[in-house]
């Protein structure tokens, strides 16, 4: 029994032309038993920044709440929104503080910086950051997600095409994982707005 596959998750983020998308499944389960089909795994951290958390559900909730606190303090002190790359360093530091007793969660960050440039990144459970530029994946079906993204991704997609690409990547990958699924949520972030869509998928 692995701690990272106790609850199950599928999170993916992709970068397009002046837009980013981040998507997750909605299942909350305890090993084989599904408990809820509307569990939130992606949390907004500003108007153009979102973070998705995969891994142990209790740590997903704890880390998101700790981040919400740090974000609020940042906003009060700095009187401005946080930049995505700064936020990535903030998460990295938060996780590495627990280096020898870590939070069992892997974050995925997606946002647009103040110049309108798309930013995506992920870290491992102890905070090592990775900024690949095309797509990042996390969760129990990360291999399936890598396969789908590698095949479907092309650079510089517009918001609608990016939505289609990220949705197909997530849906088909989570259908090959018993612990992830039961619907999906997709957020597409552009300079002006965030469009959130909920997808119906195989409910098993």
């Amino acid at each position: 029994m692995s701690i990272m596959s106790y609850n199950g998750a599928a999170i993916v983020a992709m970068a397009g032309k002046d837009c980013v998308a981040i998507a997750s499944d909605r299942r909350f389960g305890v090993q084989a038993q599904t408990v809820s089909m509307d569990f939130q795994k992606i949390f907004p951290m500003g108007e153009r920044l979102m973070v998705g958390l995969a891994g142990l559900a209790t740590d997903v909730q704890t880390v998101s709440e700790r981040l919400r606190f740090k974000m609020n303090m940042y906003k009060l002190r700095e009187e401005r929104d946080i930049e995505p790359v700064t936020f990535m360093h903030m998460i990295s530091n938060l996780l590495y503080e627990k280096r020898f007793g870590p939070y069992f969660c892997e974050p995925v960050i997606a946002g647009i910086d103040k110049h309108g440039k798309p930013f995506i990144s992920s870290t491992d459970l102890i905070g090592c950051p990775m900024t690949p530029g095309n797509f990042v994946v996390a969760g129990t079906c990360s291999e399936q997600l890598y396969g789908m993204c590698e095949a479907l991704y092309v650079p510089d997609l517009g918001p609608e095409d990016l939505f289609e690409t990220i949705s197909q990547s997530l849906l088909n990958a989570q259908d090959r994982d018993a612990l992830a699924g039961w619907g999906a949520v997709v957020h597409v972030i552009t300079k002006d707005q965030v469009i959130t869509r909920t997808l119906k998928s195989r409910m098993d």
């Binding site: 890598y146 396969g147 789908m148 590698e150 479907l152 088909n172 259908d175 090959r176």
Partner: protein, 244 residues
């Protein structure tokens, strides 16, 4: 752990002689011989209306080392059937050698070449024969059935098998299989016309998925060998992949 002479008292020396905390021995463990090894690699087979494609990469690895860059994982059983097998190379070669012999015997006894469904059943029986010391081999059979239609059979290491239209197996299987579901099974796609599969589409798709797998799976790469099985015989295509 050695007993370093530090010049301290005898009691300290005794304490240092005990196994370190948390270890019940001195770190001396008898290493059991493992009869298996993992040689990596990814295979895929796709069935169309009148053809089948059996493909695999050609890398053989052990741990982080590459043993060879051109070891085929696809074994021809007859003009209409091929087996692709990956896992422990020793068991793969033995298994295919055994099946090849059995096919020869069948041909001489019954004066006809063994059909794909018959071979599929025989492979299942052969694998289950070793139920309690299995062949560490994930197999996929591809070929033409008795009516000339393409068929794919996939196996677990102890012989459980099923006829399908497409299947990926091996170290990169989890990367390939979802895309095959999407493009060949039309899963999660609404309102698309389900065109019948052509050889061209199948080979393009296999090439794309294997290129993707070589990017992310360390055991997959070097070259892709595709075998297209039609009523006219078996055509082989070799495409280079990433060598890193």
């Amino acid at each position: 752990p050695f007993l370093w002479y530090t010049g301290k008292s005898a009691t300290m020396a005794l304490a240092a002689a005990a196994p370190p905390a948390g270890m019940s021995d001195y770190g001396a463990v008898q290493h059991r011989f493992s009869p298996y090894s993992f040689n990596g690699g990814t295979i895929v087979a796709v069935a169309g209306d009148d053809f089948a494609v059996v493909a695999g990469d050609t890398r053989l690895s052990e741990g982080y080392e590459i043993l060879t860059r051109d070891s085929s994982k696809c074994y021809k059983m007859s003009d209409r059937t091929m087996i692709a097998s990956t896992g422990f190379h020793g068991d793969v070669t033995t298994l295919t050698r055994l099946l090849g012999s059995r096919m020869e015997l069948y041909k001489h006894r019954h004066n006809k070449v063994m059909s794909s469904p018959a071979l599929a059943q025989m492979l299942s029986n052969t694998l289950y024969y070793r139920r309690f010391f299995p062949y560490y081999a994930h197999c996929v059979v591809g070929g033409l059935d008795n009516e000339g239609k393409g068929c794919v059979f996939s196996y677990d290491p102890v012989g459980s098998y099923e006829r399908e239209f497409y299947r990926a197996a091996g170290s990169g299987a989890s990367l390939l299989q979802p895309l095959l579901d999407n493009q060949l099974g039309f899963k999660n796609m609404q309102g698309v016309t389900k065109d019948p599969l052509t050889v061209d589409k199948a080979t393009k798709l296999i090439r794309d998925v294997m290129v993707g797998a070589s990017e992310r799976d360390i055991y997959t790469g070097d070259a892709l060998e595709m075998n297209i099985i039609t009523k006219d015989g078996i055509r082989k295509e070799i495409i280079p992949l990433r060598r890193d």
